[in-house]
Subunit: 355 residues, 2 copies
């Protein structure tokens, strides 16, 4: 076990990271298969560069698990179902398990019906939206995912009461030779995870991420509780966050608006998190190979655009994450010193080997 | 027929407006039922305050119809189909006819399967997205609609080549006693229709709607061809426009990217417009009355927020349009002088009575 008092930044291979998460979760009482599944998905988050949604979250997850705020032996089950649709009760499981199951069901149904939509209630934080949106791609499908965020950091446009979360959406569309086009975005200028990362790194936030209750820029992440995240396009981002919240939360009987539990401050109350995934079978619409070639063509058109001053190239949604994943699979995942320290404190705490 | 030389602004009742559009379309060769359907939907656009998407577009539609760029006797048909999905070939019909048909099919399928998605190719401009997103609500369903816009006014983020349209999205969710929550937004700060309206009204545009190819604000709508619309949230709005374009265009075999035809300058080439509609049957997820009451509850939470300085109240998506519709159904639709003139020139041209 590393010296927790004098931890320094280090780089860890994805299998090492996954094994670390796996042993922490098993020590917390998860069945082996569930620990392995969650560890795999959390590692994938770090590999893709979603640093605010991977192992960074593990200490908080464990705090919640040990407080009884997450069910480590859940009975995730379908409570309503039609040919192209299902509603899951996650039984307060880790969100990763609920949404991996939701994706499996959506993919299976879409093969028959062309499209399927699976919603979930009584779920929990599941990491980055991209993880689930990309699952249908292996089956020549398009994936679409959205979630109610676990904490309200956004007021309705023109208001100051924190009634909405950053409610992210992800859409994943496979290409042929090019990387997939994979949009994964919060409906605010910055996701709350980025604020937490800035805080952990001791960095200031750029103007535009948050404003205080008087509408003035807020750049100190330690003061984040005094302000709120700014929605993209003002009223439009507010509208998107609201609609996604109604679809992923209210429609599924999950928390939305005032019912949302802030899991960074409350580690006990079930979050009743809501998410949905939609899978579209490409072959229902088009020849799969022709469609993928067309996606490559559009990819190339965007890349081929002349650039504005200040830009070296045009990027596609998901291109940065794809590049980071290539690099991290080859060279490992960098962990800042603060995170190494926190992970080793956690390991000691649950009685397993650290990172 | 009004004096076309000295037209002044006037207010017209919705039935009068609908009758005017109907007679123009019949004079252009549309079957009575199709003329009536398009006239009804275009009037609904004006009633809801979508001034850039209603009768304002009629002269351009007619120009295209008379150039052979729209098929007035189309065979709109399903070319691919599964239980919860269909792909329509619009046979170059008016988009209103194609997407009204798509909505009917989606609603019918969703009753059985819980959700259904219908895409279209070889369609045309169909007016505001809200018209189609709201159709499922009468069947206790949620509607979701997106389209590839008819003209590229947006470069990929960091680029200057106009490869994307404003690709709008609309989502409509019914409440119980409150108005429905209905988001209808372009993925740019302003829709191109608003630019055209500012031009027709002789008004300048606010900073933030458009920038020129050097990234400087562009406020003169007469110079709109020299610049481009700004996507919401920068790269996020670009990402949304791209993904919606791939879903509404590429997946359906419709135009996207460089294939998009600008129907304001080219009145002959078929636009091969792509759109899709998705209907979600609320009863597949929840008790309909309970869900609608929950939507009202969320509506009330947003309205009840304390306001920021500069705001008198919080608005819900669709609230403004709902209010305008109530007023215009009672008091009529105001038509600016320039529009009255254009509509009377058009009427004379096709040999029917003006407004």
């Amino acid at each position: 076990m590393a010296d927790t008092a004098a931890a320094s930044a280090r780089t860890i291979t994805p299998p090492e990271l996954q094994a670390y998460i796996d042993r922490v979760l098993r020590a917390c009482g998860f069945p082996d298969a569930d620990a392995a599944k969650v560890a795999g998905l959390m590692t994938e988050a770090d590999v893709r560069g979603s640093d605010g949604h991977g192992v960074f979250r593990l200490p908080m997850y464990v705090k919640r698990i040990r407080s009884g705020g997450i069910n480590v032996r859940p009975n995730i089950r379908i409570i309503k179902e039609r040919k192209a649709q299902a509603l899951l009760d996650g039984d307060n499981a880790m969100g990763h398990l609920v949404m991996a199951r939701a994706a499996e069901i959506a993919i299976s149904k879409a093969k028959d019906t062309g499209i399927a939509w699976v919603g979930a209630r009584s779920s929990n934080h599941a990491g980055p939206a991209a993880l689930y949106a990309q699952m249908p791609m292996a089956h020549n499908m398009i994936g679409l995912y959205a979630a109610v965020g676990n904490g309200n950091h956004v007021p309705p446009w023109g208001g100051i009461d924190l009634l909405l979360s950053t409610n992210p959406i992800a859409i994943a569309i496979p290409g042929a030779k090019r990387p997939p086009i994979l949009l994964d975005m919060a409906t605010t200028t910055a996701a709350y995870g980025k604020v937490k990362m800035a805080q952990q790194r001791g960095e200031q936030m750029p103007v535009g991420w948050m404003v205080d209750r008087q509408g003035n820029p807020l750049t100190d992440p330690n003061r984040s509780s005094e302000g709120f995240l700014v929605p993209i396009g003002g009223p439009k981002g507010y509208g998107l966050a609201l609609m996604l919240g109604l679809l992923a939360g209210t429609l599924n009987g999950a928390a939305m608006g005032k019912d949302v539990v802030d899991f960074t401050t409350d580690h006990v109350t079930p979050t009743n998190t809501g998410q949905f995934i939609c899978a579209l079978d490409i072959s229902a619409f088009a020849d799969v190979a022709e469609f993928k070639a067309e996606v490559d063509e559009i990819y190339g058109q965007m890349k081929g655009s002349k650039t504005m001053g200040g830009f070296n190239e045009v990027k596609l949604p998901g291109e940065n994450a794809w590049g980071i994943a290539q690099e991290r699979r080859a060279k490992g995942v960098p962990l800042p010193a603060e995170l190494v320290k926190a992970l080793n404190v956690l390991a000691k705490d649950v009685g397993v080997e650290g990172v």
